[in-house]
């Protein structure tokens, strides 16, 4: 009031003055109601980074799509926490020979619309993927599948074109009801599964709302529903958690936010070793990177422990290869790349790349390092740049948005890049990553690695169904790759889930799957800090 009088001594400007202060105040008062009435009771709110693009299991390719789709749809088999396949819709199965499998389908399972799930739905699901008209991105993964026959109402037979050991892994695909139109994301049909949750709302890029399936054959989930909120910004996800409007975040935060969350929230934090493999890939068509000594030198020049300690805040362990120690085919006896800059310098000298000016500024050679625009990836890139500079290799870090980055690495338009593999199940993935025939566009051998011995092993590995023999084959594969270094292993990341104290019963899966949300309940504890 004093201020107002002061102003109006010469000019009466009460109105604008009041506007400045009263309008925001009116806004604040008006808004409190809407802010508080957001969360339905007994509903878990999960924060996601980019969210699912397709929830139809025949089209779900990204991690969020697969994880949420698995809560709506059941599959014949489902991997447990230790990545061992367990029966889900398949009550039992029998391998008639190397190419023929017969499955007995569980009776008494119904879709969300009440219709019973039968062998006809299983046959339809797989045949719709094989149909070129369906444009399913998973069709390529099923090229080994010759046909699917319904032998009875609850009996189905799969026949393979060739013996294919990883076949069982492909049966984790969600089963859709017969005659479901192609691509549920287009809204052509309502996504109806038989899983513990039904789909109530799907707004791509915004949110997914699930409701509990009260008549779920394994028993109704304790939660009434779940809301998956897409919150693109990492800081905002954490702030939402701090405010209590988000109950659960798995992995979608920067590692250095974890200490802050420990200090400023009452979050229950779960952390377990996962199978997220971070690596550096190199273009072996490049005249410098073609040299094995150079690749080994790069491997010795990287101080993984320092990056894990300082940037990843301990949420990883140094890796020796794609398969993590928990995997059945993991080989522990492979060559390990210890941090040894002197050895790196010696190898580079030996390869014919002497340092032109000793400890001076001139590099031995210059390479470009491509990465995405994610903050954490850029920070890791800067750390690698500094470490490689110590042995005389100049890295030019170039960060691109995902579409450009992905396009470039597929075309071989790179020297070095870094990415990760998440949720590796069958070691047959090596075929896709390192077989000579898997150079893009036929696979993901982006570094153009070629090795005849490895090719022969990978071909045998996918045709052999005897586990011990497969183990021997993939042990040798891992040894070859650790010697040749088409990838330089960096670390295996840990999975971390932060939950409000009220959240009970969540189990972390090594591949980050969210299937254990079906057992989660909310106690009456007050969320937030």
């Amino acid at each position: 009031m004093v201020l107002s009088k002061y102003i109006s001594r010469k000019v009466n400007l009460k109105i604008p003055f009041l506007l400045i202060f009263l309008c925001p105040a009116a806004f604040f008062c008006a808004c409190r109601r809407s802010a508080e009435s957001e969360k339905p009771p007994n509903t878990l709110v999960v924060a996601l980074e980019s969210g699912p693009t397709h929830l139809d299991p025949r089209y779900a390719m990204d991690a969020d799509s697969e994880r949420i789709s698995a809560l709506i749809f059941n599959s014949l088999v489902r991997p447990d926490k230790n990545s061992r396949l367990q029966p889900e819709l398949a009550e039992s199965w029998q391998a008639i020979d190397e190419r023929t499998y017969v499955f007995q389908i569980r009776k008494g399972v119904s879709f969300h619309n009440g219709k019973p799930l039968t062998a006809a739905d299983v046959k339809y699901t797989y045949e719709s993927i094989l149909d070129p008209g369906s444009r399913s991105p998973k069709r390529g993964a099923f090229k080994f599948l010759q046909d699917v026959d319904q032998l009875g109402p609850y009996e189905v037979r799969f026949r393979l074109a060739i013996p294919f050991a990883p076949f069982m892994e492909e049966l984790t695909l969600g089963i859709v009801p017969q005659a479901a139109a192609a691509d549920g994301a287009a809204g052509g049909w309502t996504l109806i599964g038989s899983g513990p949750f039904t789909l109530a709302e799907f707004s791509p890029g915004e949110r997914v709302v699930l409701k509990a399936n009260a008549s779920y054959w394994e028993g109704a989930p304790p939660l009434s529903g779940m809301v998956f909120k897409v919150i693109p910004d990492a800081i905002v996800r954490v702030l939402e958690f701090r405010k209590g409007t988000v109950d659960f975040i798995q992995n979608y935060f920067e590692p250095d936010m974890l200490p802050w969350m420990k200090k400023n929230t009452r979050a229950a934090i779960l952390s377990e070793q996962g199978n997220i493999f971070q690596y550096i890939a190199m273009n072996l068509d490049h005249p410098i990177l073609r040299r094995p000594e150079v690749r080994e030198a790069i491997g010795h020049a990287i101080d993984r422990e320092a990056i894990i300690r300082n940037i990843l805040k301990g949420l990883a362990i140094p890796a020796t290869g794609l398969l993590s120690p928990e995997h059945w085919a993991y080989e522990s006896g492979v060559r390990r790349l210890e941090y040894n800059p002197e050895e790196a310098k010696r190898l580079l000298d030996q390869a014919g790349f002497p340092d032109p000016d000793g400890d001076g500024p001139l590099p031995r050679f210059k390479l470009s390092y491509k990465t995405t625009t994610l903050d954490l990836r850029k920070r890791i890139a800067e750390a690698l740049k500094e470490q490689l500079a110590r042995v005389g290799i100049e890295l030019e870090v170039r960060a691109f948005e995902w579409g450009t980055f992905y396009g470039d690495i597929g075309k071989g338009n790179f020297h070095i890049y870094s990415l990760d593999w998440v949720g590796t199940k069958d070691p047959d993935i090596y075929y896709d990553l390192f077989h000579s025939s898997s150079v893009p566009p036929n696979g993901r051998n982006r570094g153009r690695y070629r090795n005849q011995e490895l090719d022969a092993l990978l071909e045998r590995g996918r045709r052999t169904t005897i586990l011990d023999e497969r183990k021997r084959i993939y042990s040798r594969v891992q040894e070859i790759l650790a010697d040749d270094l088409p990838y330089i292993p960096l670390w295996w990341g840990k999975n971390v889930a932060v939950m409000q104290p009220a959240v009970r019963g969540f189990d972390l899966y090594p591949d980050g799957k969210l299937i254990s949300l079906k057992k989660v309940s909310l106690s009456s504890a007050k969320p937030g800090s």
């Binding site: 102003i7 010469k10 000019v11 009466n12 400007l13 604008p16 003055f17 506007l19 400045i20 309008c23 925001p24 806004f27 604040f28 008006a30 808004c31 409190r32 109601r33 809407s34 802010a35 957001e38 693009t53 390719m61 444009r135 991105p137 069709r139 390529g140 993964a141 090229k143 691509d183 994301a185 287009a186 707004s203 791509p204 890029g205 915004e206 909120k229 919150i231 693109p232 910004d233 800081i235 905002v236 702030l239 939402e240 701090r242 405010k243 409007t245 948005e401 579409g403 450009t404 992905y406 396009g407 470039d408 597929g410 075309k411 338009n413 893009p440 566009p441 036929n442 696979g443 993901r444």
Partner: protein, 307 residues
């Protein structure tokens, strides 16, 4: 005026054509194949080719462009490469959120800039003027990606007054509007202040004082109205900045608007959706500029476009 408006409306078409042509060429020039992104690298080459044919991406660029223009002529923006929904449906679903945010940001800018600008001019060289100058510098210097989280921490976490992000009631709108409107408020404050200071020494203001009009009437009616022309110009130009800024602000605040949709479409190389979004943004920008010109006429009747 009528002729002028007709002339301006006709000019919209070549401008829009130029815009969509540039966007069409740019989005096709950047690396990244939508088919690769959709089917993944493991898909068979035959499947990729088949999808490419189905989407018309196997056609020469010129033919794709003509097809796009033909669709545009019939108001058909095509279908999203990803979920096959029509582009217009996707845009119309998100457009209200962006309009809401942009208008709210402009409101915030006006609410802050007019009182501050007027006070700063009326109390030249006082602490109010210095405060307004500080506010202007602060508003211009603070990037959205910093200001947004800071406002969230203060108003949502510490005070608990407002929701952190998302779209809902009016409470959800305040922080993104404040973040987005801050830069515009800063510029407008300076423009209003300098416009008023320039106008207040004009002869007609002296005449008004001599006639015995109250200071409030002189400042708010005679001086402010006469300094509005430059404000209108800035508002028209800044509208483009608001639209561009909404891409960042919408991402920070998880605001389901057209800015976020554009960003998602670019990341997935969803060509029709990118083109549709840019077209809508360009139309909005041009429409606001046209509106600005009409406002000139309303603010200053001496402006005659037809002469």
């Amino acid at each position: 005026m009528k002729h002028y408006l007709l002339h301006r409306l006709l000019l919209l078409f070549p401008t829009l054509l130029g815009t969509v042509t540039v966007v069409f060429l740019l989005i096709h020039a950047v690396p990244g194949d939508p088919v690769e992104v959709m089917l993944g690298e493991t898909a068979a080459s035959a499947d990729k080719e088949s999808l490419r044919r189905k989407l018309g991406l196997d056609q020469p660029l010129a033919r794709q462009y003509l097809h796009f223009l033909a669709g545009l002529a019939t108001a058909d923006l095509g279908r999203s490469l990803y979920n096959q929904a029509t582009v217009s449906k996707l845009i119309l679903r998100r457009l209200p959120a962006t309009i809401e945010l942009t208008l709210a940001a402009m409101t915030v800018a006006f609410l802050l800039a007019f009182p501050l600008g007027i006070l700063a001019a009326a109390r030249r060289d006082s602490w109010i003027d210095r405060g307004a100058l500080f506010f202007s510098l602060f508003g211009l210097a603070m990037p959205n990606f910093w200001l947004g989280p800071v406002l969230m921490i203060f108003f949502s976490i510490e005070l608990g007054w407002l929701p952190v992000s998302g779209r809902g009631g009016i409470g959800h709108l305040i922080l993104p509007a404040l973040t987005l409107g801050m830069a515009m408020a800063a510029i407008l404050t300076r423009i209003i202040r300098s416009g008023l200071l320039q106008t207040i020494h004009e002869d007609y203001i002296r005449t008004a004082r001599a006639k015995g009009l109250s200071e409030r009437r002189i400042w708010l009616k005679h001086a402010l109205m006469n300094s509005l022309i430059s404000v209108i110009t800035i508002v028209g130009l800044q509208f483009g900045s608001l639209l561009a800024g909404s891409i960042i602000t919408e991402s920070i605040f998880s605001w389901p608007g057209i800015g976020r949709l554009t960003l998602q479409a670019i990341q997935t190389r969803d060509y029709p959706l990118v083109q549709g979004c840019v077209l809508v943004i360009a139309v909005s920008y041009l429409a606001v500029n046209l509106l600005t010109d009409i406002c000139y006429r309303l603010a200053d009747p001496r402006i005659a476009y037809d002469k």
